[in-house]
């Protein structure tokens, strides 16, 4: 840990507000606060700042840079750290206070529509407070935190093995990406690397996870425009991927398969052949579905122009994943900063400027093809050898950080291991932290009936951001 002076912290805040830096994360401990930033012009230039706050206070970043607001409110709830100057001091993850004051909305003929935390379908809990003028949404304010499970508290003092299992249950749809980010952070802290075969198998699982989620999302977005045939067909393709994952890796979602030091189980030649066949079959059957989307004007009438996210907002919040890339943001942690084995693989990062529901859907469509290509390349070039390196004993405190591209964006994991090998503190930052606030912006001026469509096109994680 390199502590910085308050002046440096404040200077960094100003650079964030100017757009010269992008916020990657902000998290606390009882006596210090950490912030990770990257240069806007060079995503590989990542800096970690630690500011000691013996009095439990620090100069707020959120007062000048909005994407830090919820992170600071969360740090206040979890660690009692007071962000000095933060205009919004309401609790975020702590729901123990009986009343929560939603921001006031003033004007004639406005009405409020409260929705959630229990929603109509099979979906995670969250509360959405709409203020509408007729059908048109004037303001949306989300209240989250219902899934707050105290993951970071459980991680304190946990072993690396338990930590990996907890990380894999931050957001179940991204279990591989989370376990990978956790493993990479632990490996960075302890200064060891997994064998090449394990690195490639991790990427294979990560791409299968991305493929399954994108297939599910494409179907579900179309279904929210009442085009159920896409959901039915895409869910068949998604199920095919999950069944193959179960057959080869022993778990449909591949939970607990990525572990610090490598992977938990190997892949035989038969499994490899099946995965190559799966990729070819998925590509063959996905193509006509996309043609169907392109030819259905009534479906595109719902997706095109709906829920437009301004590129400037995506940039200011450092929004990752399909949300950022559909609004012109050139970002993908697999390439910038990049990690093994991706520099050795050939893939494109699709960036569009549409910014609407259609754009976010189309980025997924393009990424499905890229993931299929990656799966085929990995399967063709999978190196032989061991799949796990023994975790070394360090005998001293060590810190590590990792940035991994999950299907919905970049996941940041920072951890400190104590001398006995146990976790002193671990922070897991879901991409949704920087995406949820943007959903409130894109729905403005749309009708309430288009909210499910906008929400599904974002598909933010409730659990991942609630911790």
């Amino acid at each position: 840990m390199t502590a910085v002076a308050t002046a440096s912290w404040v200077e960094t805040t100003a650079l964030l507000a100017d757009g010269a830096l992008t916020l990657l994360g902000l998290w606390g401990e009882p006596d210090r606060v950490h912030m990770a930033v990257a240069e806007a012009a060079n995503a590989a230039a990542i800096r970690l700042l630690t500011l000691p706050c013996p009095l439990g206070r620090y100069p707020s970043v959120g007062r000048l840079h909005a994407s830090a607001i919820r992170l600071e409110r969360a740090a206040a709830d979890l660690w009692g750290l007071e962000p000095e100057g933060l205009p919004d001091t309401r609790p975020w993850l702590d729901h123990s206070a009986p009343d929560y004051a939603f921001l006031p909305v003033e004007g004639d003929n406005l009405h409020e529509v409260p929705v959630g935390p229990v929603h109509a379908g099979i979906i995670e809990p969250g509360h959405f407070r709409f203020t509408a003028d007729g059908e048109t949404v004037v303001r949306l304010e989300a209240r989250l935190g219902y899934c707050h499970k105290g993951i970071e508290r459980l991680l304190q003092g946990a072993s690396l093995a338990t930590g990996a299992r907890l990380a894999g249950r931050c957001s179940g749809d991204s279990t591989v990406a989370y376990a990978l980010a956790f493993a990479q952070a632990a490996e960075a802290a302890l200064g060891y690397v997994p064998p090449p075969r394990a690195v490639w198998l991790r990427a294979l699982m990560a791409e299968l996870e991305r493929l399954a989620n994108h297939l599910g999302d494409v179907g579900a977005i179309c279904n929210d425009a009442a085009f159920a045939i896409m959901l039915a067909n895409c869910s068949v393709l998604r199920e095919g991927v999950l069944r193959e994952a179960a057959a080869t890796f022993g778990h449909r979602l591949m939970m607990d398969r990525v572990v610090p030091g490598g992977v938990a189980l190997d892949l035989d030649a038969a499994g490899l052949a099946r995965i190559v066949a799966l990729a070819a079959e998925t590509r063959r059957r996905f193509r006509p579905l996309i043609a169907l989307y392109e030819k259905t004007a009534s479906l595109q009438d719902r997706t095109v122009g709906t829920g437009f996210l301004k590129p400037s907002l995506a940039e200011a919040f450092g929004a990752g994943g399909f949300i950022g890339r559909a609004s012109g943001r050139r970002c993908d942690a697999r390439r910038w900063p990049g990690y093994a084995p991706y520099p050795d693989l050939d893939f494109e990062v699709p960036v569009l400027t549409d910014g609407d529901v259609h754009g976010r859907l189309w980025v997924r469509v393009l990424e499905i093809e890229q993931s299929l290509r990656l799966i085929e390349q990995i399967a063709g070039r999978l190196p032989p050898g061991a799949i796990r390196t023994e975790t070394p004993e360090r005998g001293a405190t060590a810190e590590g950080m990792a940035l991994v591209e999950g299907f919905r964006g970049d996941i940041l994991v920072w951890l400190r291991l104590e001398a006995d090998g146990r976790i002193g503190r671990c922070h897991l930052r879901d991409p949704s932290w920087f995406q949820w606030p943007l959903l409130e912006a894109v729905i403005e001026g749309n009708i309430i009936a288009d909210f499910p469509l906008c929400n599904k096109s974002f598909n933010c994680s409730y659990s991942g951001a609630d911790l």
């Binding site: 993850l93 729901h95 123990s96 935390p117 229990v118 109509a120 379908g121 099979i122 979906i123 995670e124 809990p125 935190g145 219902y146 899934c147 707050h148 499970k149 105290g150 993951i151 508290r153 459980l154 299992r165 907890l166 249950r169 931050c170 957001s171 179940g172 749809d173 279990t175 599910g216 045939i229 039915a232 067909n233 869910s235 068949v236 998604r238 199920e239 999950l242 179960a246 449909r252 979602l253 939970m255 006509p288 579905l289 169907l292 030819k295 259905t296 994680s461 409730y462 659990s463 609630d466």
Partner: protein
């Protein structure tokens, strides 16, 4: 569109026969439901699902129940939007402090007779989050649970087997 619809006419359906999972624990729980309950439930169940703070893996597998392979509605199982229409409250997640009130209110809003199914290890006993001060440790901590479906997450096959066991006549 016509081609896609036509394809589905000439190809056999994806839907699979339900292969019963031999699970003595499930059989015991299903048997514990008295004959009256079974008569009332008959061959149809309206299910209100509540995520009480799960990691969303259980939701993924519950959603998969609706895909053409499992097609849960053919068993008379329906996921309903309102608790007023529901016979069964299906709970996932370790019951976070922040979701406990919403979960209880949903249960209160359901008309009697009603049953509670805890799906997944978290709802069954708190799972990996059992010791967290932010969680209450499973659905049974706040509600009378009639059936547990274990798994992290339970597979669609496990979920289906559990829900079908609740009804008087298996397929």
């Amino acid at each position: 569109m016509r081609k896609t619809l036509f394809d589905s006419l000439i190809h056999p359906p994806f839907t699979e026969r339900l292969v019963p999972v031999p699970d003595p624990e499930l059989a015991r729980m299903a048997a514990a439901l008295d004959a009256g309950s079974r008569r009332r439930l008959g061959r149809s169940l309206a299910i209100r699902m509540v995520d009480s703070g799960s990691c969303n893996a259980c939701e993924l597998e519950l959603n998969a129940l609706g895909n053409p392979f499992y097609d849960l509605e053919r068993f008379g199982l329906r996921i309903v939007a309102s608790p007023r229409h529901a016979d069964v409250l299906l709970v996932t997640g370790p019951v976070t402090r922040n979701m406990a009130q919403a979960l209880l209110r949903t249960h209160e809003a359901m008309p009697a007779p009603k049953w509670v199914v805890a799906a997944g290890d978290c709802a069954t006993c708190g799972g990996i989050f059992a010791d967290s001060p932010a969680c209450l440790g499973g659905a049974a901590a706040v509600l009378p649970v009639d059936m547990h479906i274990p798994g992290c997450p339970p597979t669609p096959t496990q979920l289906l087997a559990g829900l079908v066991a609740l009804m008087s006549r298996s397929p």
